[in-house]
Symmetry: C2
Subunit: 200 residues, 2 copies
């Protein structure tokens, strides 16, 4: 998730009112940011998912709603997502692995920001594609080595962006999206995770 368009680096390009562009309602977006600037409590969001174990390594999550902008919001429709391990890791491969969803989240977050920022800067996008990969050594989760971490050792994402602006401006848009990406921040810097258990 990445919605910013107001960083100081963009000031010179946002003097004139911006029309909707790239499928982004730019006036609404800038108006929303302005409203939040005037009432900071609106910026507090809580996102949620619930998960249920199905069988083996296969489970299913639902995202039904979230809190934000001062109130509760239902999702626009039912969002249900499975995850599983692949056969080579003794699962049934009913869905991607959990770690692959991290890659989806990263690509989608920076891409959404690119569209918003391009719209705010008056740039029409023709194409944004990315490929993302993460390297992991399963000696960690297999408990075969105490010196190998459980998670990805590194992630690489490559963006291909085409639009009606010079290469340098397109690059700046991607860089700015990275600089304001929620998922990039979480994956790069980590976040405190609390785990509670109700066992019986």
């Amino acid at each position: 998730m990445n919605t910013t368009a107001t960083d100081s680096t963009t000031k010179t390009t946002t003097k004139a009112p911006r029309a909707p562009r790239n499928g982004v309602d730019t006036p609404l977006l800038l108006g929303t940011i302005g409203a939040v600037a005037g009432q900071r409590e609106l910026a507090k969001f809580t996102f949620r998912a619930s998960n249920r174990w199905l069988r083996g390594t296969h489970s299913q999550s639902r995202m039904e709603g979230f809190y934000g902008a001062g109130g509760e919001h239902m999702q626009t429709r039912e969002f249900v997502y499975d995850a599983d391990h692949p056969p080579v890791l003794c699962g049934k491969g009913e869905a991607p692995t959990p770690v692959e969803f991290l890659l989806h989240a990263l690509a989608a977050c920076i891409t959404a920001g690119i569209a918003n920022i391009a719209a705010a800067r008056g740039v029409t996008l023709h194409e944004v594609e990315s490929t993302v990969e993460g390297n992991i050594d399963l000696q960690g989760i297999f408990g075969l080595s105490e010196s190998v971490r459980n998670g990805y050792q590194n992630i690489r994402i490559g963006f291909r962006i085409r639009g009606d602006a010079p290469e340098s401006k397109l690059r700046e848009i991607v860089e700015q999206s990275r600089a304001r990406s929620a998922v990039f921040d979480v994956l790069s810097n980590g976040v405190p995770v609390q785990l509670d258990i109700d066992a019986r």
Copy 2:
């Protein structure tokens, strides 16, 4: 993702061969870990996704295959996942936000590990459910405050687990899954993310 069953804490409970349980092919799982122990290169995996911008904040990812266990693997079927921002954040809400997919990944990873570890320890599970939530202050991504981070400020996950073992043993299974969860590690500790840009 979490597949471990061989940490030292489990040694006393894995003396006898384990039958399949919880939908986990326990002999295959333990055999796989044994095979990797004898040939460490098999533990190297690379997971991938490709993403394409659709319109506004809406994009779509595909996971087509991955490298691991010494070779390339195609997914068992086509895995396609969208992401979007919700209307309250000026998106169309066509899919969950990228940050919600992080929550799905976390819950699914620890849950898969719980099933594997329980099977390895001879525990039959009746029910595993979890709820996960993440708090985020959008002043960060809106560029309204330099002191507010872009990503989640904290994540909380609560597990409800039921099975044919004492509470303490069920708790230990959840704790061991957390201790060997790839997604828990990535979210808690972060990972280096490299970004490349092809702009034109």
